[in-house]
Symmetry: C5
C-alpha cells in the first residue's frame, strides 16, 4: 500500500482530471474484451482495438466491455469520450488506491471495489482494483490485469445462455460481476480461518516470538481485508437503494442478496479479529508463564544449594580451635544435616505447588 501512496503524491500540484496511472503495471498491454448479447445470441471480440467499442454503444443488446491493464491512458481517454465518462471518473479508474465507492453520474453509475485473491504462496492476500461503469445498455469493467480471470465463469454462463442472465438488463450483468468478485472473498476468509487454526495449535504446543510475528502478520491482513470490505457494504447498499433508473426492481432483490453476503463477510472478519486478539492475550500470558517456570527452577536450585554450600564453607574454615573438626562422626553428621536441609526445602516447594 505504501508503494501506491508514494506514487499518489506524484500527482500533487497537477490539475484535477489529469490522467496518470497510479499503481503497478501488471500486464504488458491493455486488452479489450467485448461481449455483446441479447436473448437471441452472443457476439464476442477478444483483443479488440478501442475503436470497435463505439458501434456497440447505441444497440439494444447488452454490451460488456472488459478492459485488462490500465497503463494505456490514451485508450481510456478514447473510451471515455465515446461513452461520455467524466474526466474525474477516468482519473479514479487510473488511481488504483481507491477506496470502494459508488458514484451516481445520472447517465451511468460508477462502482469501484477490490478484487481479492489468495493463490500466490507467501504473498497472502493479493488485491486488484476493479472499476465498473453501468450504463443503459452497457457495462464497462476495468481490471488491473492480474493473472487468473475471476470473470471467465460468468462469461461462460452468458455464452451458454443458461439461467436468467441473457434475459435481464445491464444492471443484472453489473450485479453478476459484483457477485463473482464478492463470492471470492469467502475463499480468503477460509484461508485466513485455516491460518488462525494452525497458529492456535502452535500457540498451545510451542509459543515462540515467530508465532507472535505471524499473529501480527495475520492481524495486518485482517485490517487490510477490512479496509476493502467495510466501504463495500455502503456501496452495495447504495446500489440497492439507488434512485437511479438504471437499476430495475427485479435486480434489487439480487443486490440485497449480495448485501447480505457483505454483512456476513464483515461479521466473520470481526469474529476473526476477536479471535486474533484473544491469541495475543494467550501468547503474552504463556510467555509470562514460562518466565515463571524458569524463575521457579532457579529459585529451587538456589534455595537448596546456597545453605548447603554455606555449611560446607563453615567446615572449610581454617580456625585452629574448631571442636567439630576433630569429632569422629563430624563428617557424616554434617552430611546428614545437609540432606535434612535439602529435604525440608523440597517439601516446602511441593507444599507451595512449585513443581
Amino acid at each position: 500500500m505504501a508503494d501506491k501512496i508514494k506514487k499518489r503524491s506524484v500527482k500533487s500540484g497537477l490539475p484535477p482530471g489529469t490522467l496518470v496511472h497510479i499503481g503497478t503495471k501488471m500486464v504488458a498491454k491493455s486488452r479489450i474484451h467485448i461481449l455483446d448479447y441479447d436473448e437471441q445470441g452472443v457476439r464476442e471480440k477478444r483483443n479488440a482495438p478501442v475503436g470497435e467499442c463505439l458501434p456497440f454503444r447505441d444497440t439494444e443488446s447488452i454490451t460488456w466491455i472488459d478492459i485488462e491493464g490500465l497503463q494505456d491512458t490514451g485508450l481510456l481517454e478514447h473510451l471515455g469520450n465515446s461513452y461520455g465518462l467524466h474526466p474525474l471518473i477516468l482519473e479514479d479508474i487510473l488511481n488504483t488506491d481507491q477506496r470502494p465507492k459508488l458514484d451516481d453520474m445520472e447517465s451511468y453509475l460508477y462502482v469501484v471495489l477490490k478484487m481479492l485473491d489468495y493463490d500466490e504462496p507467501g504473498l497472502g492476500i493479493v488485491s486488484e482494483q476493479v472499476s465498473i461503469v453501468l450504463g443503459k445498455n452497457f457495462v464497462i469493467s476495468l481490471q488491473e490485469g492480474r493473472e487468473g480471470d475471476l470473470l471467465e465463469p460468468l462469461r461462460e454462463r452468458i455464452r451458454s445462455g443458461k439461467g436468467r442472465i441473457r434475459k435481464m438488463g445491464s444492471d443484472y450483468l453489473a450485479y453478476s460481476i459484483l457477485d463473482s468478485i464478492i463470492d471470492r472473498y469467502f475463499l480468503i476468509l477460509e484461508k485466513l480461518g485455516e491460518k488462525i487454526e494452525v497458529l492456535e495449535e502452535d500457540l498451545v504446543s510451542d509459543p515462540r516470538p515467530e508465532t507472535l510475528r505471524q499473529i501480527h502478520q495475520l492481524k495486518r491482513e485482517m485490517i487490510s481485508l477490512r479496509k476493502s470490505v467495510w466501504p463495500l457494504r455502503e456501496v452495495i447498499y447504495g446500489l440497492e437503494k439507488s434512485e437511479s433508473g438504471l437499476i430495475q426492481q427485479s435486480t434489487r432483490i439480487f443486490l440485497r442478496d449480495v448485501y447480505d453476503h457483505t454483512i456476513q463477510i464483515i461479521d466473520s472478519i470481526e469474529t476473526f479479529r476477536d479471535m486474533i486478539s484473544g491469541m495475543l492475550d494467550i501468547y503474552l500470558s504463556s510467555v509470562s508463564n514460562r518466565m515463571n517456570q524458569v524463575m521457579k527452577v532457579l529459585t529451587i536450585i538456589a534455595t537448596i544449594f546456597m545453605p548447603l554450600t554455606f555449611l560446607a564453607g563453615v567446615y572449610g574454615m581454617n580456625f585452629k580451635y574448631m571442636p567439630e573438626i576433630g569429632w569422629r562422626w563430624g563428617y557424616p553428621l554434617v552430611l546428614l544435616i545437609m540432606i535434612g536441609v535439602a529435604v525440608t526445602m523440597l517439601k516446602y516447594f511441593r507444599k507451595k505447588k512449585w513443581f
Copy 2:
C-alpha cells in the same frame, strides 16, 4: 464455523440461485411434518411426501409445514415452486451459515435465525439454523434436524387447543416458534453463568494456564452467542414494526415481548463479557503476584547466605599470617557474627513486609 465457510467457497463462481446445501448433513432423510388447524380441529401428517403440502396452500385453516433436514434439494425446489418462494430464499435456506435476518417478500416474510442448545457434554453451545416462512395462512419452518425437538411442546399446545393459539392466525404461529427458540437461549445463559462461577472459584484457589485456556474458551462461546443474538434483535424489531399486512396488530404486542427477551439476553451477554474480561485481569495479576512471591523467596535466601558464605570463604583462605585463625574464640566469634548478619537481614525483610 470455519468448516462451513470452507464449504461456502464451493459456491464461488456458480450462478445465483443455484441450490447447494452448505452445512453438515444431520439427519438421514428430510422429513416433512404437516399440522393444519383452525378453531375447530387439527389435522396432522408425519413424514408426508412433498406432494401433500400443496393441497393445504389455499385453505382457510392455518398450515404449519415443518421440515427437518435440508439435504434434499429436490424436495425444497418442489416446495418452493408450490408456495412461490424466490430462488434466492431457497438458496438462503440451504446455506446454513446465514446471519439472522428478515426479508419481506411482500406475499410472505422470510426469517432465519439460530436455534441454540447446550445438552451435549463437551461440545458446549450447539447451533442449528432455522428458517421460517410466514405466509397468509401457512408457516413453513425448516430445521437442519438435530436431535431433540424444541418445537414439540408447541405442537402439543396446538393439538390440545388450550390457550389462544388455535384462535389466532399464522403470524401468531410464527411468533410462537420464535418464542420457543429464543426462550431456549436463557438456558444457554444459565449454563454459561454456571461455568463462569466455577472458573471464578478456580481463579481464586488455584490459577493455572489451564484456567486461562478455559476463560478464553468461554470468551469464544460468548462471541459466538453474541453473533447469533445481536442481529436477532433487529430481526424481531423489524417484525414488530413491519408494515406487512401479514402481521396483525394483536400479535405485535407478543413480538414486543420477544423483543424485550432479546434485549435481556444481549444485556446478560454484555455483563458476562465484562465479567470474563475482569477474570483475565485477575488471572494475569495473580500470575505476576506469584512471580513476585518466587522472587522474594529467592532474594531472601540469596541475601542471607551470600554474605555468610563469603565470611566462611575468608576464613578458609590459606594465608600463613592470619591472626584470627589462631585465636581461641575465633570460631565461635565468627559463628556469632554470622548469626547476627542473618538476623539483621531477616529483620530488614520483615520490615519490608516480604514475608
Copy 3:
C-alpha cells in the same frame, strides 16, 4: 443474578402469558395497601383483600394500590382482570429479572425499574424490582417486598396534604414514586464513592492481592448499577416525551427533572468507572515496581558478594606454589582489595540510582 436466570429457564416451553413467579420470595404473604385521595381527603386500607381494589377503579379520586410480595399469582390474576391488564404485562410483573422498560398499552402505561438499596452490611447493593401501572385515575405499584419501605415518606406527604401532590393527577403520583426510587440511587453512589476512597488509600499504603479483589468487586457492583440505570434513562425519556394522554403537560417538567437526575447518576457512574480502571493501572504498576525493588536488592547483594567470594575462594586453593600465601601482608592486602571491590560496586549502584 445467575440465580434468577436459572429460574427463568423453567419457563422455557410454557405458553406466553403463563403466570410463574421468577425470583426469590421475600415476604410471607402478598400485602395490598390501598390509598385513595383527592383534594378533599384520603381513604386508606392496609392489608386489604384483593376484592376491595375493584370499587376504586371508576371513582374520580386518585387510587394508589401498592402490592408487596409477588408470589400470590392468583391475586395478581384477579387484579389484572379487574383493571384490564394484558397477560404479558402480568407475566413481566412476576418475572423479576426484567430490564427497566416502559410499555404504552394505550389505556395504561407500564413501567418497570429497579429499587436499589445499600443498607445490609456485607451484601453491597441490594436490588428489588418495582412495577408501576399508571392508569387514568389509578396507580398500581408492585414491589418484591424487601424490608424498609422507601415509599412511606411519599404516603406521609399524601396523608398530610402538603405540597401539590393532592391537587395533581395519577401521573404526578407515578412521577413521585419514580422520584423517590431514583433519589435513593444517590445514596448508593455516595457509598460507592466512600469505598473507592478507602481503596485508593489502601493502594498507596499497602497494595495486596486482597485490594485487587476488592477493586474487582467494586467494578462488578458498578456494572450491576449501570445495568439498572442505563435503560432507566430511556424509560424516563420515553415517559416525558410520551404521546399518551395519561401524562399531563404540567407533569412533564417534573419528569424532565427526574431525567436530569438519571443523566447525573450515569455521569457519576462513568466517572467512577474511569477511577476504578485507573486504580487497576496503579495496582499493577505498583506490583511491578515492588518486583523491581526485590530484583534490585537481589542484584546488589549478588554483585557485591560473588566477586568477593571468588577472591576468598582463590586464596583457599591448596596449590603448593602460591607466592601470595606466604607474604607477610597478603591477608590484609586481600581484605583491602575486597573492601575496594565492594565500595566500587556500591558507588556504581548509587550512580544508577538503585538505592
Copy 4:
C-alpha cells in the same frame, strides 16, 4: 465531588421543589448586584436588597441581576416569585452538582454550567456552578461566590459603553457571560499543557512511582474537565439552534462562535487524553526496561563468577592425591584459565548486546 454527592443524598425523600442548598458555602452572605442599562445609560446597585430587583422586571432596559452566594434560600424564593421561576429551576440553582444543561421554560431560558479556574496552588482545577436565567429584558446570573470575579471585565465593558453590548438585547448579555466563562477554559488547558510537558521530561529523565501518581492525578483532572465541557457543547448548540423567541438572529452567530470554542476545547482535551495514555505506556515500558537492565547486570555477574568460584572450589578440595596441586605452574595456569573463562563470557554478552 464525593463531598457534594454525600450532601445530595440528604434530599432523598423530600418532595420535589424543596429548596435546600447542596454544596459548600463560599461567601458569608448572598450579594445582589444589579446592572440596568440601555443605549443611553447605566444604573448600578451593589449589595442591593432583594426587594429592589422587582422594579426592574418590566422596564424596557436590559437588567442584569448577579447573585453571589447561594445559601440564602429565602432570597432565592423571593426572586423566584418575582420573576416567575419554576420551583424545579430554583432547586436546580441551589443544587451545585448539576451537569451543564439548558432548559427552555418558554418565558425564559435556564442555563447551568461550570466556571473553572486554576489559580489556587496545589488545588488544581477549581469548579464553581453558574446558573443563568435569560428572560425578555433581563438576565439573572447566580454564582457560588468564589473569590475573583470573572465577570468584572464584562461589567466594565457595559459601563464604558464601548463595543456593541449596550445596543443589543438580553440574549447578547447572556452570550457575553457564557463567552467570558468559556474563554477561561483556555487558561485551564494551558496550565494542563504545561503540567504534561513537565511530566514528560520527568518520564524521560527519571521515571519514579511518584511520576505515575502525578500522571494519574492529571488524568483525573482531565476526566473532571471533560465532564464539565462535554455537556456544554450540547447546551451551546441548543441555544444557537433554539426556537425560543428570546434568542435573536444577530446573536446566533456569536453563539456559533462560542460553540466553535467549545469544540476546540473538547479537541484539546481529547488530544491531552491521548498524550496522557501514551505517557502511561512509556512509564510502564521504561519500568520494565529498567527491570531488564537490573536482570542483565545480575546475570552477567553471576555467569562470570559462578564458574570461577567453582574452579577455585575444586582446587580448594583436600584430596591427598591431586597431581595439579603439586605442579610448579599449577596456580598461574588456573589463574589463566579463569581469565580465559571471564573474557569468553564477556565476549558472549557483548555479542548479545547486553552492554
Copy 5:
C-alpha cells in the same frame, strides 16, 4: 500547539470581535497578491497595497486576493470592511489554532483548514492555517506565510489558461485551492509510511527504548494529523452539500472528488494507527522475550554451577575423619560426578527447549 493555546488565553476577557493575532509571526510583513482573471486574460499585482483590493470587488472577472502573513491587523480590518466580512470571521482568521470549519455567512462562505508540509528535517509535520473566503466573484485566501508556496502551481495554471479553470467561477477557484492543499496531505502520509517501515525493521533487528520513543513520536504526529483531517471531512461535505448559491452544480462533482480524497486520507491514518499500536505490542513482547532469554541464561549457569560448587565445598571441609579424602581415585571420581551432574542438567534444559 501548547504554544498557541498559551497565547490564546491572552484574549480571555476581551470583547468578542477584538482583532489579536494569535500564533507565530512567520513573515516580516503581510504581503498581498492579487490575481484577477476571466476567460480573456489575467491581471496580476504582487505586493499590492491594501487599497488596491477594493476596485476588484465589483468586477465580473474572478479576483483572487492571496495574503501571506497575518500580523498586520490593520490591513485585515481594512479588507474586512471593503468586502463586508463579519468581525467574528476576522477574529477567526487571526486566531491560528482554529479547527477546520465551514461558516456559511450568506453573502460569502468562510473555510478554515490546515496546510501541512513535511520538508524541514527533524521538525516533522509543519502546520499552517489557511483561511478561504469565497464570495460571488472573488476568493480571498489568507496564509500564515511559511516558506514555500504550495499555491504557485495553481497560479501558473491560471496564467497559462490551460484546463477549465479560467472558464469557471470563483467556486472552482476555491475548490482548486482546497485541492492543492489536500493533495499535499498524501505526501505527509507517504513520509509517515516510510518512517513506519524503518521503525518496523528496527523493531525486528534491535528493539531499544529509543525505538519506543520514536514509535510514540510517530503516534503523536498521527494524532496531530488526524486532528487536522477529521473535521476537514465535514467541511468538504458541507461545501458539497451546501445550499448556498455560491457553489455551482458543475463544481460539486469536483468537491465530491476532494471529499473522496479526504476519506482516503482518513482511512490511511486509521490503518497507520492500527499498525503503530501493533508495533507497540511487538515492542513490549520482544522486551519481555529478551528478559526471558536473560533469565534462562542466568538459570542455566546457576543450576549447573551451584551443585558443583557445593560438591567442591564438601571436599574442601577440614574434618579429620573423611575417608574419601585419602582414596587414591577420590579426586578423579569427584570430577567424574561433577561432569555427570553438568551433563544431566544440560540435557534437562535441552528437553525443556531452553536453548
